[in-house]
Symmetry: C2
């Protein structure tokens, strides 16, 4: 982790711990430089990263303010940090259905930008929130990037392992959503009725260098899930 | 519109017109400075804005690359520019059900950070995509910020009017999603059956200074709508 990313994490924790609210003003640049004992450019990069992640917003000529929504119990669709926090906040656990190495589907190959003969790790899990079924997850990891997975790793947070275990830098995600009706198999996994609503969330996760490494498809239990996202307009 | 915002728009149009793909490299900073005849700091600000909007990504030491997803026909949930483009691309039109000045609901007051005695413009519209019902929209605009609306304005893009007519700077949005079943009234508006799936999207739109000015609730026709969003992780 680079120094400015570390400072950004510290600042985010500071906001969290002090329960700062949307619109609360952060200390000025000079004070942050002294507090963290780093250069102006490091603080500026950290603040830019936090702005991109939707944690703060900067107002020309008046300062840096906390950006934090008011609602509890929403799963963030736009922040990975958020997802890690979600895991802890919501007690999200996983049951593994499948873990193997295989050839990608055509859809997975297109989204991962690989050939049909390349190898992927395929993971199918049921995720639980407070002990209730949250979603069915199917993920395809480009094996030339995510070189190793095992049952122990995928029982916990795969993304923690990818960043900390493999030392990869996760950059950004493109996510596609649509709403439809559950088929019989999905309904059985989720403990709902066939024909009930579902939210399907497909994401392509990229490293900071732009390479896609994970294509995942999540089918959510509509009763258990509500989502939050942030946008810069 | 500030100069760097203008340059950002030009660059976005350039990417669009030249049909650049995800991963395509943009010209280096020096070339962009010459091309637009502006300073380094203006180009840098423009690129930072485009990165926040998910139009480009910057790779340390190797350059600036186009970030552009591959799928057609998805409505963007994270970009306003995208929404304007959506309007044109998808031929989105509106039928006005209600436009009046009233006191906010408690929910609207909380989200707009105003009192229950303050005035709001209330707008209810049905939006159509290619002539099919796309969504039911209910919006509450803080009247002390959005000082005037009429039927002509709300038949077109309200956000275009807010930026160009009122000269306000739209900054960011917090959006909440959940999936549920349509009630009888919603089903009738959307031409679906009671109990069919729906996606409810609530957004709080803020000015660049952090003030919320619009709280809107959209109920989407699941058959007509698929969504796209981008995240920096």
């Amino acid at each position: 982790m680079l120094k400015y990313q570390h400072i950004a994490d510290e600042l985010e924790n500071y906001i969290e711990e002090h329960k700062l609210q949307q619109g609360d003003k952060l200390p000025i640049l000079q004070d942050l430089m002294i507090q963290f004992d780093v250069s102006k450019s490091t603080v500026t990069k950290a603040l830019d990263l936090l702005e991109k992640k939707g944690v703060v917003f900067q107002v020309r000529g008046s300062g840096i303010f906390v950006r934090r929504h008011k609602r509890q119990g929403y799963i963030s669709l736009t922040s990975n940090q958020g997802f890690k926090k979600n895991l802890e906040e919501f007690h999200i656990t996983s049951e593994i259905i499948t873990l193997d190495i295989r050839k990608p589907t055509k859809e997975a190959a297109v989204n991962l930008n690989i050939g049909l003969d390349d190898d992927v790790y395929y993971v199918k899990r049921i995720r639980y929130i407070h002990g209730q079924t949250l979603c069915i997850e199917e993920s395809y990891f480009n094996k030339s990037i995510v070189t190793y997975l095992n049952k122990e790793i995928i029982t916990e947070s795969i993304f923690n392992y990818i960043t900390e275990g493999l030392g990869l830098n996760i950059g950004f995600a493109d996510t596609y959503l649509h709403v439809d009706k559950l088929n019989a198999e999905e309904a059985e996994y989720l403990g709902l009725q066939k024909g009930d609503p579902k939210l399907e969330v497909e994401s392509v996760f990229h490293l900071t260098n732009g390479q896609p490494f994970d294509f995942s498809k999540l089918t959510y239990n509509y009763v258990q899930s509500q989502f939050f996202l942030q946008a810069v307009l």
